[in-house]
């Protein structure tokens, strides 16, 4: 019942069917044209590959809902990864230290973004663009421009599986579930929509706009840090130049999922669909061994086409 109501109140789900259709269509095509797509091992594979973008996308959903944007995702992923790796040399610290430091780094970057946006009154685009270059620079400085290697297996194993399920996927799933419940069921979540929907009105209704925004950017940063840790574990190094343009894939996933860039509309469920769509396209095109050149073209066309279909039937 509550679940049902949540679905209804999650305004964007009502017209996410367009994306679902495209998703099913493409999956069907891939299952038909390749003998490897529909295999369990490949689906685990896809799951593993979407996890990082998934965590980022859920995080940035909060920011986009307030009507903001975060371009610093990719660089902060790299920075958190490097920091994590620096503390992850075997036998130096307990496993929690590198993880904690990675999350902390991300969280602090996010909070700083939030402070500059709320107290400083600077456009999120500029703030996070600045953070994008600053974080990248810091990652390069801390790592001396070279990958930070020699990470303890205890950490790199976190990229592995428990039973059939990849641990990164579990992180993504957990993050998504919690965020979904939070946005739908909690006061602060509701306030996020209010701020994004009409900021002055939200303020007039007694919502503390700065608090809400600070929370959104901080949480987004924290999740970016998590993504950084997961990435470092996955590639067993802290790469100062990792995560290039990750923000674009993440934001694309969110917008494909029906969250409006002007804020106030959308939610996590749509974001998950967007993440899956992008992940399946990437996986499928590789399976079909389409030339990299054409991959770019096809990917672009599918994404725009999907959103177009979706919006069209949303209107009708």
């Amino acid at each position: 019942m509550t679940l049902a109501r949540r679905f209804i109140l999650d305004r964007n789900l009502v017209h996410r069917f367009g994306i679902v259709a495209v998703l099913l269509l493409i999956s069907g095509l891939l299952a038909a044209t390749t003998d490897s797509f529909a295999t369990a091992s490949n689906l685990t594979n896809v799951a593993r590959q979407v996890s990082i973008n998934g965590i980022l996308a859920v995080g940035v959903t909060f920011v986009l809902l307030t009507g903001g944007v975060d371009l610093s995702l990719g660089s902060v992923v790299a920075l958190s990864g490097v920091v994590c790796a620096l503390f992850a040399h075997p036998g130096e610290h307990a496993l929690l230290v590198p993880i904690g430091m990675g999350l902390l780094t991300g969280g602090l970057c996010g909070l700083l973004n939030g402070v500059l946006v709320t107290r400083g009154g600077i456009a999120p685009f500029i703030v996070t663009l600045g953070m994008m270059t600053v974080a990248r620079g810091l990652a390069l400085i801390l790592s001396g421009g070279k990958p930070v290697a020699d990470m303890t297996p205890a950490l790199t194993d976190l990229a592995g599986d428990v039973g059939p399920l990849p641990i990164p996927l579990l992180c993504f799933a957990l993050v998504a579930l919690v965020s979904w419940v939070f946005l739908g069921r909690f006061r602060l979540g509701r306030h996020l929509y209010a701020v994004g929907g009409n900021e002055p009105a939200a303020r007039a209704a007694g919502v503390s706009v700065p608090k809400v925004k600070l929370f959104a950017y901080g949480l987004c940063g924290l999740l970016t840090g998590l993504a950084g840790v997961v990435l470092a574990a996955r590639i067993t190094t802290g790469q100062p130049n990792a995560g290039q343009a990750y923000e674009l894939d993440a934001i694309a996933a969110v917008v494909i999922g029906g969250t409006s860039l002007s804020g106030g509309v959308g939610g996590v469920l749509g974001t998950i669909l967007g993440v899956l769509l992008i992940g399946i396209i990437n996986n499928g095109l590789d399976l079909l061994s389409v030339s990299s050149y054409y991959q770019a073209v096809i990917k672009g066309v599918i994404i725009v086409g999907a959103v177009w279909l979706d919006r069209r039937q949303a209107r009708s």
């Binding site: 109501r5 069921r185 509701r190 306030h191 002055p200 939200a202 503390s208």
Partner: protein, 491 residues
């Protein structure tokens, strides 16, 4: 010359207008009446090319026309004053007023001097004098409304649709508008006019048409209708006496204001407000009423002066502080400082009182929807379901939701800034009754209104504001509209 034939419109399965046929004649002021959500705006929007009819057709000078967008309608000579104000905040007044009509010189350059000259001309036609070079965002709601009307006049259309043009105006501008309308009538322009103010209708209209629940229930020459008959058609029942008697006797002082100042809007404002008292604040547009209210509610804090609640000085720097201190407000600017359009009616309604439904495990969804259902019931809010985006509601129904929001938070002091703006008389009666109940319940009410009869009938005491200064305190039982205006007029 303009004829609506069997017009029908549905939104999301809900039919909001059904088989409405009307014709609008040159030189005639045709008043559209009806309760909130009756479909007046929808009808006008179809005539103005904003909505496409789902059924029926529009005939213009005998030919059937389909308007793809307002541009087409304007090209045919049909202009509209919209119910919701639509300023373009960062363009200046002249550019807003003449948007799309900018005079250009031989090189296709916009002729600024001419632009501002024309803008001043059209504003003068409404007996208003604004600096046409200031950006629109600086204007008060009332001033924006005037510009919107001038905008329509400037189109020099053959048909002008006016959707509650006086909602935000005070008597001075209203009078000017009426003179302008008489002028249009003489020039053979067809005027379609919507309002919830009875007196206006009978002052202006040659013909009256009444919509109820999307259907045309009556149309006749104004002369053939009495106010009570009209109300009858609108509401479908006899209305009880509109104004409830002022019964309660004020208790001890809850709110005390001393020397409140915020140049240039207002200065040295001092007054007290007692438990159970309804205090009126009257004044002309731009007198500073809204800004005082906004200062009390923490929206735009004053630069000097003291606010005391229950004998304790309070610093209200944000609406949050105000709500926490037991102060609630319904703002005058419904669209800008009121609704959150994309949010559902329920979420808008409970926004200020969410804390009450929240627990560590989250919002109690069932309690919230129960409360919402009650409020929708209590205020007779017309909505498809609590999940409908409030932006889709009719203006009046949006206003009711906002009232419910403010009161659901359970404040002791309630500030109502133009609470009945754009509300039908049925609903008005409800709100008047509500104000009565509030004071009976021991709440203190500060009522700002440009409708003097309303203020006179509902308040215990009456403050008059002139250019940001208190010019008089009057006893509504022993004063007249004329006296109020005398104190309000700038000198």
């Amino acid at each position: 010359m303009l004829r609506a034939v069997q017009l029908t419109k549905t939104f999301g399965g809900l039919t909001v207008l059904q088989d409405v046929s009307l014709d609008f004649r040159p030189g005639e002021v045709h008043a559209l009446m009806g309760e909130n959500g009756a479909g007046k705006s929808t009808l006008m929007k179809m005539l103005a090319g904003l909505h496409r009819p789902d059924g029926g057709e529009i005939q213009w000078r005998g030919r059937t026309v389909r308007f793809a967008n307002p541009h087409d309608a304007l090209a045919q000579g049909i202009a509209m004053v919209h119910q919701e104000l639509m300023p373009i905040p960062d363009l200046d007044v002249a550019e807003n007023l003449l948007l799309g009509l900018e005079p250009v010189d031989a090189f296709g350059w916009v002729d600024r001097a001419e632009l501002h000259r024309q803008a001043r001309h059209w504003l003068a036609a409404l007996d208003t004098d604004l600096d046409t070079r200031q950006p629109m965002r600086r204007l008060s709601v009332a001033q924006i409304q005037v510009v919107e009307i001038a905008k329509a006049l400037a189109r020099q259309a053959d048909v002008i649709l006016m959707d509650e043009p006086t909602a935000a105006l005070s008597d001075h501008e209203v009078a000017a508008l009426f003179r302008a309308i008489d002028g249009l009538r003489r020039r053979g322009v067809a005027v379609v006019y919507t309002t919830h103010k009875m007196d206006e209708v009978f002052r202006l209209a040659d013909r009256l048409s009444v919509l109820r629940d999307g259907r045309l229930v009556h149309t006749a020459p104004a002369a053939e209708l009495t106010p009570s008959a009209l109300i009858n058609h609108m509401v479908g029942r006899e209305l009880a006496k509109v104004f409830p008697p002022v019964v309660t006797t004020p208790g001890e002082v809850v709110l005390e204001v001393r020397g409140l100042t915020r140049e240039p809007a207002y200065r040295d404002i001092s007054f007290t407000l007692r438990r159970g008292e309804v205090l009126g604040l009257a004044g002309l547009m731009g007198a500073g009423r809204t800004e005082i209210a906004e200062a009390l509610y923490g929206l735009r804090p004053a630069t000097a002066g003291e606010i005391r609640l229950r004998d304790r000085p309070v610093r209200l720097l944000s609406p949050q502080d105000a709500l926490a201190a037991g102060l609630g407000m319904v703002t005058e600017d419904r669209k800008g400082l009121g609704i959150i359009p994309a949010m559902s009616v329920q979420h808008n309604l409970t926004l200020s009182a969410l804390a009450r439904f929240s627990s560590p495990t989250g919002i109690d969804a069932s309690a919230e929807s129960r409360a919402t259902a009650e409020q929708i019931e209590a205020y007779a809010i017309k909505t498809r379901d609590p999940g409908q985006p409030i932006g889709e509601l009719s203006g009046g129904n949006q206003q009711k939701v906002l009232l419910a929001r403010a009161l659901l938070a359970g404040p002791d002091v309630v500030i109502l800034d133009e609470p009945t703006r754009g509300i039908d008389i049925g609903a008005k009666a409800e709100i008047y009754a509500l104000i009565g109940r509030l004071s009976a319940a021991g709440k203190a009410v500060l009522l700002i209104s440009s409708e003097l009869p309303e203020i006179l009938a509902l308040t215990h005491r009456l403050l008059v504001l002139r250019q940001g200064e208190l010019s008089a305190e009057l006893d509504p039982r022993h004063t007249t509209q004329e006296e109020i205006l005398r104190h309000a007029m700038p000198r």
